[in-house]
């Protein structure tokens, strides 16, 4: 159908609305009687004037009732101009969305797309309108930072993380990104603690951990990849550890490092994460030494790993060899590889 099909009628809509309600725009929000009358009237052929067919009795529309559609008369020129404007804007929007989508695509994805010859032209076009790869990086970093801020705003130190019954435990996979470390490090394992109020550097062996009370909890372990597992952990409360080895005044962060971490080829690839001390003091934050009632196996970070159930799995560093309390925010292994910084769950 086309707008030309509609015979232009008396343009009484503006001049005398009360005389010809058929062309009067009716505000949909007013459930008065005239609204019900208009729909049949609008359908009348233009030639026939007064003798209306049997109209339904005017009645009140309920608040959820559909409002009848009411035609309005618009100047043809104005309508055409508006329509042209809207279609031009729409076309511009489609072009902008297409170029924006291209700009956001990772280069890895682009390399798999056909018509490689046109890729440079598209990149140049995008850069010319300001969509440079630097801006892309900034935008995506900003998106991660914003999401981190949301996570921090949601975080409450007083909130208890959901716990499960031991019967609900599910298998926990060894997700070491590289090779699982050689167990040879275990007999000589030491934990070095620095940034202490005492100004000293402490070194603990496995036997030194025995003086701390052991706490157990069954919590869900959630990986950034999307899998999760319910596991039964046991270990030292980080809060107790902080009380025994108080950090220097002004310290806000606990930077943890595992010197025994390996890459996929078995070469040393030290792993490092950090959590803020408030999160470290949460009663469910453990320096875990047990899994499933047994000492931690190598693949889960023997002899001691971090367990922060309010953070993604990648913050739960295995086989910690070093803890340093710092005032300045420390680096994070996966944040440097394009992932979020705080990883709050």
């Amino acid at each position: 159908m086309d707008m030309h099909d509609d015979t232009p009628r008396e343009d009484a809509a503006d001049a005398a609305p009360e005389a010809t309600p058929a062309v009067t725009p009716e505000p949909a929000a007013v459930p008065e009687a005239p609204a019900a009358e208009q729909a049949p009237a609008a359908a009348e052929p233009p030639a026939q004037p007064a003798p209306a067919p049997a109209r339904p009795a005017p009645r009140k529309l309920s608040p959820i009732e559909e409002r009848p559609e009411v035609a309005i008369a618009l100047p043809r020129r104005k309508l055409a101009a508006q329509t042209r404007r809207d279609f031009l804007l729409y076309g511009a929007g489609v072009a902008a969305a297409a170029l924006g989508a291209w700009w956001l695509l990772p280069s890895r994805t682009k390399s798999h797309l056909p018509l490689q010859a046109g890729h440079d032209a598209l990149d140049t076009l995008a850069a010319r309108v300001g969509l440079t790869s630097e801006r892309r990086g900034k935008l995506l970093d900003g998106s991660l930072t914003f999401d981190d801020d949301v996570a921090e705003a949601l975080y409450s130190k007083d909130r208890t993380i959901r716990t499960y019954a031991r019967s609900e435990v599910t298998p926990l996979r060894n997700n070491y990104d590289g090779q699982t470390p050689d167990p040879a490090y275990l007999p000589t394992w030491q934990l070095q603690i620095s940034g202490l109020a005492s100004g000293r550097i402490e070194r603990l062996g496995v036997n030194d951990l025995a003086r701390f009370a052991t706490h157990e909890q069954v919590t869900r372990f959630v990986c950034v990849e999307g899998w999760s597992a319910v596991a039964w952990w046991g270990g030292i409360r980080f809060a107790d550890f902080l009380a025994a080895f108080p950090p220097a005044p002004g310290a806000k962060w606990a930077a943890m490092r595992s010197a025994v971490n390996r890459d996929a080829h078995g070469h040393p690839d030290p792993y490092y994460v950090s959590i803020d001390l408030e999160t470290a003091r949460h009663p469910q934050t453990l320096l875990a030494t047990q899994l499933g009632g047994q000492p931690l196996p190598i693949e889960h970070g023997a002899p001691m790993r971090l367990l922060v159930p309010m953070k993604l799995g990648l913050k739960n560093i295995k086989a910690i060899t070093e803890i340093a309390y710092t005032a300045k925010e420390p680096a994070d292994y996966w944040n440097e590889r394009g992932y979020s910084k705080y990883d709050g769950l």
Binding site: D11, E69, L74, R77, L79, D86, F87, R220, G344
Partner: protein, 262 residues
């Protein structure tokens, strides 16, 4: 309306779709597309629909099985057949970091867009046309019969009159338009449940557990994505006026002849 010039220079049109509804409708498309391609890349990292090792498809991943099936059907030996879906409908495999950051960006935009859509529905009163009505069951059957007859009636050259519909949209349309915002809300809620299960534990429990939220998220994505197919077909079948009305906000179909199905 301002004052009109001459009577012959006016056109009678029916105003349709609040401006916010029209803009957010179109913005939804790139956003959902971006969420889908990044979401599938994230899904690849750890599929939720897993099964024991399948010796035929060589995978634990249900989508991997479907991928192998499609790749064999198309004789596509170009790449690992287990990754066919990921290679064609996502950013690709091993792209988790970039997929996550783009997914968050689009997810926040999708929520803002959804809120503006709801605002437009409320401001324009358009929500009333989406509510289920008492006449829906009978009309849905009539419409189904009409759609199923569409092709046979063309072949057999038999008439296939459009059923009389009681409201602006027919029952099938209304069911679809009514459920889209619900699935939109569901995809957002399940997304938050798996994004912040520790702080929003109550939301995670609403989906039973973490994987429950993942399954709802995945299924909602499928529903939202599948809706597009009949939606586009029916808009094309219905004609240019319907398409134009979602851009310009007016329809030239002034008579209430009960057609219009998209």
């Amino acid at each position: 309306m301002s004052r009109a010039p001459q009577s012959t220079d006016t056109v009678r049109v029916v105003p349709k779709h609040h401006g916010l509804v029209r803009i957010t409708h179109w913005v939804n498309i790139p956003l959902l597309f971006g969420l889908l391609v990044t979401g599938l890349s994230i899904y690849w990292a750890a599929p939720v629909f897993m099964h024991p090792w399948n010796p035929v498809t060589h995978t634990h991943d249900g989508l991997g099985d479907v991928s192998v099936f499609i790749a064999r059907l198309l004789h596509d030996t170009h790449d690992d057949p287990r990754n066919w879906i990921y290679n064609h409908f996502s950013l690709g495999t091993s792209s988790l970091a970039s997929a996550l950051s783009i997914h968050w960006l689009f997810a926040y935009l999708f929520m803002i867009n959804g809120a503006l859509y709801a605002l437009g529905l409320a401001a324009g009163g358009g929500w009333r046309a989406l509510l289920p009505r008492g006449t829906d069951p009978a009309e849905a059957v009539a419409m189904l019969r009409y759609y199923l007859n569409a092709v046979p009636s063309l072949v057999l050259r038999k008439p296939n009159p459009h059923p009389k519909i009681a409201f602006k949209y027919n029952a099938l349309q209304r069911a679809a338009y009514f459920s889209m915002p619900i699935f939109g809300a569901l995809v957002v809620a399940s997304g938050w449940a798996m994004h912040k299960p520790a702080m929003l534990g109550w939301l995670e429990r609403l989906f039973v557990n973490y994987d429950g939220a993942r399954i709802v998220h995945f299924v909602s994505m499928l529903v939202l994505g599948t809706f597009v197919v009949p939606h586009v077909i029916l808009v094309i079948a219905d004609g240019f006026d319907t398409f134009r009305s979602m851009i310009t906000g007016w329809s030239a179909r002034v008579k209430e002849d009960g057609d219009g199905h998209a």
